[in-house]
């Protein structure tokens, strides 16, 4: 906070708090690295529309932010310690990607960043994460669903990372230095997420009747949101046209090729369920979300919103 908690008058060794206040930089929230893009070339290529680049970065950043928060909810709730750590690590990798992507969005077009009281030390990527309403988030709807059982987590990580990896593989050649760098690093990270989920997918499919039943149920439940991942939003089309982004429709074959390998190994086929419709044609990329996202944001944002002048 702006005024730090007063150090108690007694011997500092008696206070459980004294050690915590020595160096605020160790707090995870905000991490106090003032500018995650310090020293990175953030010049927008001359012929690229800054608002397009910023909104495109926001889309990829919001996917990572929302998925990260959902998977951080698994911490201490997974079926065993190893998977608890795995899901938490996936959440952490995505949070890192979100931070850079939101910072990139803010740097390209600061009109996207919510206004905060004058003098607020909140960095722009935090303002984007904690001070936007649900309808301002651009994430795909797959990312925001309320968590189900472990089979649901497995299928969700699989679908999300098969798709995201296919996007990032292509985004490595973005003309925007930041997006290219985030993609180069993200490919390595998301490949681990995908393979982790793919192995559990095959394991659960070949496990017991109950594990297979749950896996199939999760796949049927999530499948209607798969086609949305490959819809081309006008911003994505413009970003691809400008050579800074990837049109998701162009990675569909690659992604489904990988997914089919996993389904084959599991002895399953693609479900037939039809896609989930948008609302008047609007989906996650347009800011159209389900009620669970609002509830998630209410929890995720409450502390930051209560203390807009807070220094974390």
């Amino acid at each position: 906070m702006e005024s730090h908690i007063d150090t108690p008058p007694e011997d500092e060794h008696d206070s459980a708090y004294s050690g915590l206040l020595v160096n605020d930089a160790h707090w995870a929230f905000g991490t106090d690295f003032e500018d995650p893009l310090a020293g990175v070339d953030t010049t927008v290529p001359g012929d690229v529309d800054a608002a397009t680049l910023a909104t495109y970065a926001l889309m990829l950043g919001d996917d990572a932010l929302v998925m990260s928060h959902r998977f951080s909810e698994w911490t201490s709730n997974a079926p065993d310690l190893e998977d608890d750590i795995a899901l938490s690590n996936i959440a952490l990798d995505l949070l890192g990607q979100a931070r850079l992507l939101l910072a990139r969005a803010a740097r390209a077009d600061d009109s996207l960043v919510p206004a905060l009281p004058e003098g607020s030390p909140t960095p722009p990527e935090d303002a984007l994460a904690f001070f936007r309403e649900a309808h301002q988030l651009r994430n795909v709807r797959l990312a925001e669903l309320v968590n189900g059982d472990f089979a649901e987590a497995t299928v969700r990580v699989l679908l999300f990372s098969v798709w995201r990896l296919a996007l990032l593989e292509r985004l490595r050649s973005s003309r925007d230095h930041v997006l290219a760098a985030v993609a180069a690093k993200g490919v390595k990270e998301v490949a681990y997420h995908r393979d982790y989920a793919a192995r559990w997918f095959v394991t659960l499919a070949g496990g017991t009747e109950e594990s297979r039943r749950r896996l199939v149920a999760a796949l049927d439940q999530l499948w209607p949101l798969w086609p949305e991942l490959f819809d081309t939003h006008p911003v994505e089309a413009a970003a691809a046209e400008a050579g800074v982004g990837v049109d998701p429709a162009t990675v569909r074959d690659a992604a489904e090729g990988v997914l089919d390998q996993v389904l084959d190994a599991a002895g399953l086929e693609r479900p037939q369920a039809p896609r989930r419709a948008g609302v008047l044609g609007r989906t996650g990329r347009d800011g159209m979300h389900g009620e669970p996202l609002s509830r998630m944001l209410a929890e995720m944002q409450s502390v930051a919103r209560a203390h807009p002048m807070g220094q974390w």
């Binding site: 930089a25 690295f33 990175v40 750590i85 795995a86 949070l95 890192g96 760098a181 690093k185």
Partner: protein, 169 residues
């Protein structure tokens, strides 16, 4: 003092800083310290690169670099982030690998190339990992995710010791 000597002093100070999570390794050994530049007599700019995008240790690294360089006489220390090229375990120095092994952490093998599409691997990653405690090659992967983002968990089936392995990326 000559520019070359000032630079040498800055490098020496920056290279003393150890990793907050792997304190047996310096940031230089880890390959995280990318550049040390002296801009003016007492002004130094250091570039570090995250091992993983979400690495929460970056702020601690920054603070430690600032502290070490300040006590080496640099009044102005800037720490920048270098994202490109992305960090790879291939940058861990031979000294760093030896320090990991001594500390009971299995060092990484050669990193896979990731230029094109990354092939799906449904079987556990095949690695020839030797137990850092008893040097047995009889080891099992417990989980691809370990105590930090950069490590996997293994166990030795000979001496039964669990240990961390730094993942090749």
């Amino acid at each position: 003092m000559s520019v070359a000597r000032t630079l040498e002093r800055a490098r020496a100070a920056a290279e003393r800083v150890t990793d907050p999570e792997l304190p047996m390794l310096t940031l230089a050994d880890l390959g995280v310290l990318r550049e040390v530049d002296v801009v003016a007599e007492s002004h130094v700019v250091v570039a570090i690169t995250p091992t993983y995008t979400g690495c929460p240790a970056m702020a601690a690294m920054r603070d430690d670099l600032v502290r070490e360089l300040s006590s080496a006489g640099f009044d102005r220390v800037e720490v920048r982030v270098s994202l490109d090229p992305a960090w790879t375990t291939d940058w861990i120095s031979p000294a760093g690998r030896a320090a990991l092994a001594t500390a009971g952490i299995s060092p990484p093998g050669p990193a896979p190339r990731t230029d094109g599409p990354v092939p799906l691997t449904l079987m556990p990653t095949a690695r020839q990992v030797r137990c850092p405690r008893c040097d047995s090659p009889a080891t099992d992967l417990v989980s691809e995710f370990g105590s930090t983002a950069c490590k996997a968990q293994y166990r030795c089936t000979a001496c039964l010791e669990p240990f961390d392995h730094v993942k090749e990326i």
